[in-house]
Amino acid sequence: MQPDRQQQQQGIDVAVLVSIGRHPTTGRARRAEQDARGLELALAMEAELPGTRISVLHAGPQADDSESALRGYLGMGLESMTLLEQPAGSDAILSLVEHLAATSPQLVITGARAERGEGSGLLPYALAEHLGWPLVNSLASIEKVENGVVTLLQALPRGQRRRLKVRLPAIISVDEAAPAARQSAFGPARRATFAVTPTTPEADSELAQWQLALARKRPKRLKIVKAASARDRFKAAAAKSEGKGGQVLTDVTPEQGAEAIYKLLKEEEVLR
């Protein structure tokens, strides 16, 4: 990076939204993988762009179990975290929107999908809708911030990257394409503090109506490789399995589209 360019770059306010994760094998509370990657992005940005201020937000109840998981984020080198206190089962979106609108950070970083609860991955979209900010998903890296415009590298499927320029304020969501999170250290995690902000919680009425059940493991389609040479076998292993018999629907009515999807789900025995 040239020095003259650094002149133009200025630190910005970054808010990182973190949730309580769930270890895939043991189900124990932990720092969520994607949220931790989001925080890692923010910390890397802070190191490169002096003047960047990071605030970490979590909306949820205050409990011992969740505290130890949240301290996992603090151990990455933070002094404090804002806890928007609300009882379990409340809608996090509203209190987050309220807080973000009040504090007006320029960049909001969040994981793509929570490891607990609904895990629908809709939170970034809901936030973007409420705040009216642009959203970039699947972020690989933040390249530079100049005059209120951030240059981002977005990850696309199969290793492709797309460079985007986005006007701030913006929301970006992070998945496995972002760099892995640094180790969380015990000492800083223990010393860090929580700034507890009470919110006016609103019960998640939609969630209350839902029936939750443990997910079944989806059966994996067997990949039968009939290859004569090592080269063919390698190509087969490296290639993404191409869908067969699919069709591209263009200019169809929503009803026709829904019907096509319904038919496919029946064929695949997702719906019975």
Binding site: R30, G75, Q183, A185, F186, P188
Partner: protein
């Protein structure tokens, strides 16, 4: 060479002062102005000589080592090491626990001044004899560690300055003169260079060869782990796979990140008795994390076969067992160690057993020597010790050995850490094996390279430590090397193109098992064997 001169000055000065009292001086010399001058000169000479005695310890000469050494030995951090008791009682190898309750207490050692005063005395006591350097496996492998230089670096750090004056062998690959520090400056720099580099600290396999060898009883390994604690607990900078392993230990209670519920999958067909069902047994068989490793599962199966042949009343914790915390502690993560240890102690407190038997010397050491400080006191035995006892009690009978020549590799955590050199050799002798000792064996055994989290932090060197150890085996001419540790098995079996086979003692014993001679009264309290083979007793 200041000391001989000052000692000579002192003795000459005193000699001259005493001359008048014995009347050997010519009359008149002590009269007049010259006598005062002479008296002043003599007093000065004597003061210099005395100064060497009293202040010389801070001048950095031999008297420093003499004073610091004497004080270090008098106020040694492990006074137990001076015990005259025979056997294992005179050793003290468990790491000291950190106080995690007190939030103000420092987590490990960041600056030279953070070491305890008796540790600092130990560094000053070093006479740079170089015996630690000669036995250090990491140094021999060309990894950037030299225990002698490390201790001298701590001395330099306490005095403040650079290591440019160090005349011995540097850390491999790191020339002297590039590092400098001060008593209140960091030992490992956040960026750039300070007193030592982090990879120096992570090269150590915690084999304690340097500690065993040191004539001044300096505790190198404690100092290294203290500094690692700071790197892990305060900075979150455990290198390479360290962070992943620690995360796995926190989330799944085992370093591999395996489902804790699958800890007993290897024994699905063995119908192992569980502590949860029996509540009270003679022997609790501690499986260790080797239960997830297919190679070690063979050892465990062999050990179960031996225990059943000897009709031992035993049970396992099964899925209630967790990692002992050994790796976490050596990687400096005292918090995870204490968390694992406390939960293991709570689990063990639910059951009644006379002793714990394990085939993992690392678990053996941690359960036996390091849980005590956290409130868990157990009678722990390594499987080789236990098998030797069973044999002596006449509960096992072996077919004569038909294989080739055999050598034995002492695991560091069994030998140097716990003083058990005899039992494995007794078992091999009972099998009819005459052990061809390697040049470095017993308390001078060379590490396999698998301890202290070294395979996880994986600091590159010029050679691999297990390759050097297998070369030792080759030089002994043995066709088979008997081991007693899952780490040693993994490290030594990982050697490409090895000249010898690697077998655990439990496997050798299980292969040699024969039916006990029925009604043989001459051979101890042997009970008649009920059924034909050992395996059928249990099915």
């Amino acid at each position: 060479m200041r000391l001989p001169k000052s000692l000579m000055a002192f003795s000459l000065g005193v000699f001259l002062i005493t001359l008048p009292t014995v009347g050997l001086l010519p009359q008149g010399l002590l009269e007049g102005g010259s006598s005062w001058l002479l008296a002043l000169v003599l007093a000065g000479v004597v003061a210099w000589g005395l100064g060497e005695m009293f202040f010389g310890m801070t001048w950095g000469g031999p008297m420093k080592h003499a004073f610091a050494g004497a004080l270090h030995l008098a106020f040694h951090r492990r006074a137990e090491r001076f015990s005259t008791k025979k056997g294992g009682a005179g050793r003290s190898t468990g790491l000291k626990a950190l106080n995690l309750e007190d939030e103000a207490a420092p987590l490990g050692v960041e600056k030279p001044a953070d070491f305890t005063w008796n540790q600092l005395l130990g560094f000053d006591a070093c006479v740079q004899c170089g015996r630690c350097e000669a036995v250090c496996p990491a140094f021999a492998a060309g990894q950037p560690l030299n225990p002698k230089k490390l201790i001298q670096d701590m001395v330099v750090g306490m005095a403040g300055g650079s290591d440019a004056a160090y005349a011995g062998s540097p850390y491999p690959g790191k020339p002297v003169g590039e590092h400098a520090g001060s008593p209140h400056g960091p030992i490992v720099a956040l960026q750039g260079k300070a007193l030592v580099d982090a990879d120096t600290l992570w090269s150590c396999t915690t084999c304690r060869a340097c500690v065993e060898e040191c004539p001044m009883m300096i505790e190198h390994v404690d100092a290294i782990v203290d500094m690692r604690r700071h790197l892990t607990l305060e900075r979150g900078k455990t290198p390479n796979k360290g962070a992943e392993v620690l995360d796995n230990l926190i989330a799944t209670d085992n370093p591999g990140g395996f489902d804790p519920g699958s800890r007993l999958n290897w024994a699905a067909d063995l119908n192992l008795p569980l502590m949860a069902d029996l509540k009270q047994v003679d022997v609790l068989l501690w499986l260790g994390d080797g239960a997830f490793d297919m190679r070690n599962q063979r050892t465990l199966r062999a050990l179960v076969k031996v225990l059943r042949a000897a009709e031992v009343d035993f049970a396992v914790l099964g899925t209630e067992e967790r990692d002992s915390g050994d790796v976490a502690r050596r990687l400096g993560d005292e918090a995870t160690f204490q968390s694992l240890a406390k939960r293991n102690i709570a689990t063990l407190a639910k059951y009644r057993f006379l002793q714990i038997v394990t085939c993992d010397p690392h678990s053996f050491h941690v359960l036996g020597n390091e849980y005590g400080e956290l409130g868990g006191d157990y009678q722990v035995r390594h499987h080789s010790t236990f098998i030797a006892e069973l044999y002596e009690a006449g509960r096992l009978a072996f077919a004569p050995w038909k294989g080739g020549s055999v050598t034995y590799h002492d695991p560091c955590y069994l030998g140097r850490y716990n003083g058990e050199y005899e039992a494995p050799r007794n078992v091999l002798k009972a099998l009819g094996i005459e052990v061809k000792e390697m040049e470095r064996s017993g308390y001078r055994s060379r590490c396999c390279g698998g301890g202290g989290g070294a395979p996880i932090t994986d600091i590159p060197g010029e050679r691999r430590i297990p390759d050097m150890r297998m070369n030792d085996v080759k030089e002994s001419g043995a066709e088979l090397v008997a081991v007693g540790c899952p780490q040693c098995t993994a490290m030594l079996e990982g050697v490409v193109d090895a000249s010898a086979e690697v077998r655990d003692i439990a496997e050798l014993v299980a292969d040699a098992l024969v039916e006990r001679p029925a009604g043989d009264a001459s051979d101890g309290p042997r009970r008649p064997a009920a059924t034909t083979t050992a395996e059928e007793v249990t099915v």
